[in-house]
Structures are given as C-alpha cells and as structure tokens.
Symmetry: C2
Subunit: 448 residues, 2 copies
C-alpha cells in the first residue's frame, strides 16, 4: 500500500496532465472533431501502454477503441466510454467545460466522472501495477466506446461480431463510487428495459362528445386494456410474465439487508406518505433492486389543455416501460404483452416497441464481485456497500453475460457532488488517486 501510494505520488502531475488532455476534447454527440480527438488519444495512449489496439468500426458512428494488455490465465474486460454529455448550458459553468480546472481539490470538466476518469484511471493503474510488481498478470481488455451517451446503438452487433475478443473472466463497468456517507459502493448488475407505445384508435377525427353512446372511445379502450396489465396493488398481471422472474437469492437478500437505506428520508424527499402498499424499508429496497416494473411513463389522449372541451378522442396513447430482471428479455415481454392483450380481445391495440436491453445480474459469489469487495476493504478501509443490482438500466448484459463472461461489477469514481450530466461536472482528485490504488489491488487479487 505504501509502495503503491508512493508510485502514484511520484506520477501525480503527469497523471493529472494526461487526464486533462483527454478532458480537453469536446467529445459530444455530433462534434466529429471532439470525438475523433478523444478516440485517437485513447488509442495512442493504449498503444503507449503496450496494448494491441484495434478500432472496432460502428459504421457511421465513432469507433470503439479496443486494446488488450498483459498476459496470464485470467482476463478482465474494462468497459468505459470517451464520449460525453453536451456541456450546455455553458453559462452555468464556473470554468469552461473543456478547460480542466482544479478548485478545492476537485477537477472540473465535462467528462471528469462520466466517463474519462474511469478510462484514464484504468490506464494509470496498469502503469502503477507494473512499477510495483512487474508485468500485468492478467489480460486486461479495454473496451472504450464513443456512443454511450446516445444509447450505445451499435453495441449489440459489435458484441455478436467480436464475442471472442470481448469475452473475459469478469468485467468492470463504469459508475459506482462513494455514497453520501462516504461508503464505497458497488453494483453487481443493472436492470434491462423494454419500452413500448400502446395506441388505441377510434373515429378518424375527434368527435363531439355527444356521440359517445355510439362511437368507440380509444381512451376508455386503453384504460380497460391497461387495467389488465397491473392490479391496484401494483402487481404485474401480464399473463406468464412473473413466472420468468428469478426471485432474489439468499445471498442477494443478505447483501440488501446490509445496504444502509433511509426510507423515511427518501419519502420525505419525494413528498409521499408511504411506499407502495406501505412497504417496510427492507421490502421497498428489495423490490427496487430485484423486481421487474411496468410503468406508465406517459399517457395522452384527446383534449389536454386547460379548461373544458367536450370531445371524444380519435386516439389515445400510453408510453410504458418495463424494467427487466433475470430472466425477462425485451423479446419475451413483447410477446407476452401482445398475447395477453390478444387473449382479452384487445387485438386492435397497436404496440410499438423501442429497442430494449436485457438486464444483467452477477452472482454475488462470482470472483469479480468478491475480489472487488476484498480490494475495496483493503483500499478504503471499510466494508463496501454492495447492491445486487442497480435500479436503473444499462447495456452491461450485451458485453458481459451476453458473450459468456460470468459476471461484471460497477465500480468507478462517482460521489454525490459530482454533477454528472450537469454543468460543473467534477471529480474529487483524492477519489481519482485512491481509485487507482483500488484498481491495482483488484488486479493483483483477480489475477490469482
């Protein structure tokens, strides 16, 4: 530990300068020069690290920079991205978003935590490891994409094409970091998602509502169809869907019980008197992390402005998202939903499906999970908080379980004040350097 810290300290200024170089590229969606600059920087930096680097083409999109370094029986995939969210609104930044600036121990720049910090810290960790222990004892596969902020549209075909290249014995993902009580936090999975628009049609145009006794009302039609998808106690009642939901394991439950969770604070923050069905904190948290959802994200039909207008709408629309847990897939949910509606005579209701994602959940006992926990204990000096899954969705499955990698873990350089996606995005410099320490410890333990 002392040795590792000394190496980091000796390289501190150079590491910061290199981090700053990558942060200088405005690699926003649509900024070709910014994206190319960042991609080239990552590619050259990995080559300087001695990696065998390939540019995986995404057709018209920015390429994935793939680089492999080290040798050994075990392999590890590192997923990160070099693209960033737009910096707008620029006037709210205290220093220019692409001129990295240190204030009060924090480095301010767009992409500082999301996700150039992870990308560069992992490169620096390889250098520090080598300086301390010699050649990297595992094959570390850097997968650095340029389309994360626009939904990674080319990830699935790339994963299919390069499955052998990408496959590893474990994966580290972006995200994770310190919570509001300075506890280091991991996530062992993400939910999948399937997004649908359901549309019901009536007359060719809005009618005077006096015709309601004769003409079908698509808004009522949608209400009756929706009421069959979920009951008033918030249970999903789509035929057969819940049969595909893997219940939380004992290990997952055990880790969930150890997660500090202040339900009262959350309810006060949201301004709600109770969780759904007046659940206990533990039940709410377990459901949050392990249950699928079927959510009305939006509903629209007929006259929606202020005041009264007496019309019979010609169509009605609802936007539904399903957050998916193992073993639900978007394809399966699409089929179950269609069959469920057809079986009840709602064949007229049109379903438009958007691109979905399969969820990912690592076994809590998987080497990548247990190694991360042990490395965090050593580096951060406390028991980390381990979420079996994130409540949100991400494409982890595509690059991990989907290609046969047994597990992945979300780990990174976040903290509550980071302003991710917002003006004045920043990273705490201490977090950055401690994270290099953590990664070195993780590599050492995972290689064994």
């Amino acid at each position: 530990m002392e040795q590792i810290r000394a190496i980091i300290e000796a390289n501190r200024e150079r590491f910061l300068a290199e981090f700053g170089e990558l942060l200088g590229f405005p690699s926003e969606d649509g900024n070709a020069a910014g994206l190319t600059g960042a991609a080239d920087w990552v590619s050259e930096r990995l080559q300087r690290l001695g990696a065998r680097v390939q540019r995986l083409s995404t057709g018209d999109g920015p390429p994935v920079i793939f680089g492999e370094v080290g040798a050994g029986p075990r392999s590890l995939l590192s997923y990160s991205h070099y693209d960033v969210q737009p910096a707008d609104p620029l006037e709210l930044w205290e220093s220019p978003p692409y001129t990295p600036t240190v204030r009060d121990g924090k480095l301010y720049a767009r992409g500082a935590v999301d996700d150039k910090g992870d990308t560069v810290a992992r490169i620096h960790a390889v250098e520090v490891y080598r300086a301390a222990y010699g050649e990297l004892p595992l094959r570390l596969k850097f997968f650095v994409e340029g389309e994360e902020e626009v939904g990674s549209p080319h990830l699935a075909p790339l994963a299919a094409r390069y499955a052998d290249l990408i496959r590893a014995d474990g994966a580290i993902w972006e995200g994770g970091g310190f919570d509001d009580a300075e506890r280091y936090t991991f996530y062992c999975g993400v939910k999948g998602i399937a997004y649908f628009e359901l549309r019901a049609h009536g007359a060719a145009y809005d009618l005077h509502s006096g015709y309601a006794p004769m003409a079908p009302n698509p808004a009522w039609r949608l209400v009756h169809a929706l009421a069959t998808l979920k009951d008033a106690q918030d249970n999903i009642t789509v035929d057969g869907l819940m049969a595909h939901v893997r219940p939380p394991t004992e290990a997952e439950r055990a880790y969930i019980r150890r997660i500090p969770f202040d339900g009262a604070k959350m309810k006060a923050n949201w301004g709600i008197p109770a969780f759904i069905n007046d659940m206990s904190d533990e039940d709410a948290l377990t459901r949050f992390l392990t249950a699928p959802t079927c959510t009305i994200c939006g509903v629209r039909g007929g006259f929606i402005d202020e005041g009264e207008k007496t019309i019979l709408p010609s169509s009605a629309l609802v936007k539904l998202d399903f957050r998916l847990v193992p073993d639900l897939t978007p394809e399966l949910v699409t089929r179950l939903l269609r069959e469920h509606l057809d079986r009840r005579g709602f064949s007229d209701i049109e379903i438009k499906g958007f691109v979905g994602m399969v969820g990912a959940r690592s076994d809590m006992m998987a080497p990548v999970v247990q190694t991360a926990i042990a490395a965090a204990r050593t580096t951060y000096g406390h028991e980390p908080v381990v979420y079996p899954s994130h409540g949100g969705s991400g494409p982890m499955h595509t690059l991990v379980q989907g290609v046969g990698t047994p597990g992945g873990i979300i780990t990174g350089v976040c903290y509550p004040g980071m302003r991710m996606h917002a003006p004045n995005e920043n990273i705490r410099l201490d977090d950055y350097f401690r994270h290099i320490e953590f990664l070195v410890e993780f590599i050492k333990r995972f290689a064994v």
Copy 2:
C-alpha cells in the same frame, strides 16, 4: 295559408330590412357597443310590438330583454339570444359579416341562423298573426339573452329570481330546421352535462422510472380508478348512477323508430367498422338520444412528446364529461362519483367539478310538442322528424322544466348548409318566411 302568405309577401321587404338592422350589430362577446346595440334594438322592437318590456340585469353581463305580448289563458315562452359567435377569421367571409348580403336566395351575416333569425321571425310572426286574425290569443313571453355563446353564465340565478315571469304552458327554443333530406326537424329536449377533472398525485416531481417498485404512480392509480367507472362493454358502473336513468318511454321509442338514420353512412364518415358493441342502427340511435354518457374527453400524464423518456409521473389528469338524461343532475353525479371512488379506496383522487347543466326532455304528448308537429304538417306539408332529445347539451331545463313549464321544443331556421359558428353563416330566405308561417300556425293552434 294563402292569406298568411299574402301578408308575409306584402311585408317582405320591411321584414328583411328589420332583420338586416339587427344583423348589423357586431354583438360578439367583449364588443360592448355591438351587444348594447343589439339589446336596445330588440327592446325597442318589442316595445313597438306592444310588449311590456323589462331588462333583466345579469350584473356585469349583457341584459336579458324580456317582453310579454298578447292575452289569453295560455302562455308561451320564446327563448332566443342576440349575441353571436365571433366572426373570425374575417378573411374567409365572402361579404362582411355585419353587412347582411343576399346571394342566391340566402342572406349572409353572422347571426343569420344563430340566433337573430329566430328572434326576428318570432316578432314578425306576431305581426302577421295580428294582421290575419286580430290580437294574439296567448301571452307570448320573449326571453332574449345576450350570453348564450359564452355558456349563459347568469341563466340559473335569473331563472330562480324571475321564475313566475318566465313560467309558461310551453316553450319554443332556438335550433331545429331542415335536415339533409329537407325534412323539418324538431328536438324535444337536450341532455344535461357535468364536466370533471380527476387528478391523482404521486411524488412531488417526476421521478426516474427506476423507482417504480417503491414510489406510487398516479397514472396507474387513475387507470385503476377509471376502470371502475365504466366496464369494457361501455356500461357506466358508477354505483347507483344508472338507477336514476329514466328508460325511454314507448312514445319516445316510437318517434325514434320514425327518425331516418343511416348508420352505415355515419360509420363510413367516422371511419369506424362498427358502433359500440356492434349495435344495430336503431339501438345506436336510441342510445345516442336517451342514454347518459361518461366520456374521457382527455387524459394527460407524464411524458407525452415524441420518443422515449423513462419517468414516473408526479401527477395524472383525466377530463370526464357526463351527458345527463332525466333524472340525473350534475349535483347527483358529483356525489355518486365521489362516493363511488371513496368506497373503493380512491379518496386521494381529487375531483374538480365545472358548472353543469340539468337535461330537459319534454313528454312526447305535451301540448307544445304535439302542436308543433301538427303545425309543421300544415306548413311544410310533410310529417316532421321528431327527436325526443338532442344528443348534445343545452340550458333548456333552467328556463323550462326548472321553473315549472311542462315542456319545450327546439324549432328554428337551421339547414345543413348554414355554416353556423363558421365564416359565411347564412339563412335561406325561403326558410325564414316559411318559418313565420309555421309560427303563426303554431300560435293559432297552441292558444286553443
């Protein structure tokens, strides 16, 4: 008949000139000079007719001009209005809206059919009656208001205050006229209406939809509440509501069967394959005219624009109108709706009620109805089409059944090409003069 026609013919130019005078006032909502001009004209013209005229104050609104003329055991209320819809868009008028212009036997002007035609025709009918038969054999009560196009906001308090003045043995309302096969058409009632906004609330702001397993979703809440108000076969299931619905009488059913109704044409026009529940034309028409409704006029919650956004809405809103038939009142429906929701645990759903109207339906055997039918037969030479009720709503009940008048009938100078509320509103001059004939015949028969 010959004599009546001769009198009308002799006065034709003067009648048209007088009609044109009233049409010259731009009596739109907000045009104080136009409204005052029209009100004064009606008041002075009724005085010249020998009526005892009163201005019934509506506070800050345009006054009701009330005038009574004639003597006899029976009394008749004439309801009409001197205000008009805005003439906008002006550029679509072929002649200026307040410069009455005759083209091809039609008089073009804003208010020609709605509703200055009715108002002046009834004044002229009194003159023609007198010229033919002597003094008017009944007490004709003109009630000419100036706020119809803005929803008659002062009608209810006026009716309460002046009930004795307004009460009569029957009433003639505005509207009615020729259908697309040149059959003269009456309506013996209108539906009432109650309009509500139902709102469900969740968190204080939209949440990331990942929180759906914990945080209540007001859109789902509304769906489940709505699904209890109406079943999938379009039956209203609000507790106790249908018990207050008077079924159609045998006489009403008999008149409905005589109404020419082309369901296939209507369905083709609307672009729907079938009426609700694949009803026959007769059932559809009967339901249209005699059943109450509960219509989703609009629904709105969460993300309603194009594309995907994964949020959990903080609130959801539905706009509902109930078209009311006897014996449903807005107050009753408001109470039943609240009780129904409360009984099912939906007390959190907020109901905002807008001003409602009670429906009106005259007995098919009421003197005013049967007299109108007989007078139409004589004047127009064919059996009129008689609707027990209009499918739309109006304030007839307030001035008729609500003050103890046994029945009212909708009769006027409409025809399919009239462009009511639109640019180039017009009346067929023949309709105008034939309607005077009809009114004379009606007065003669009703007085007996």
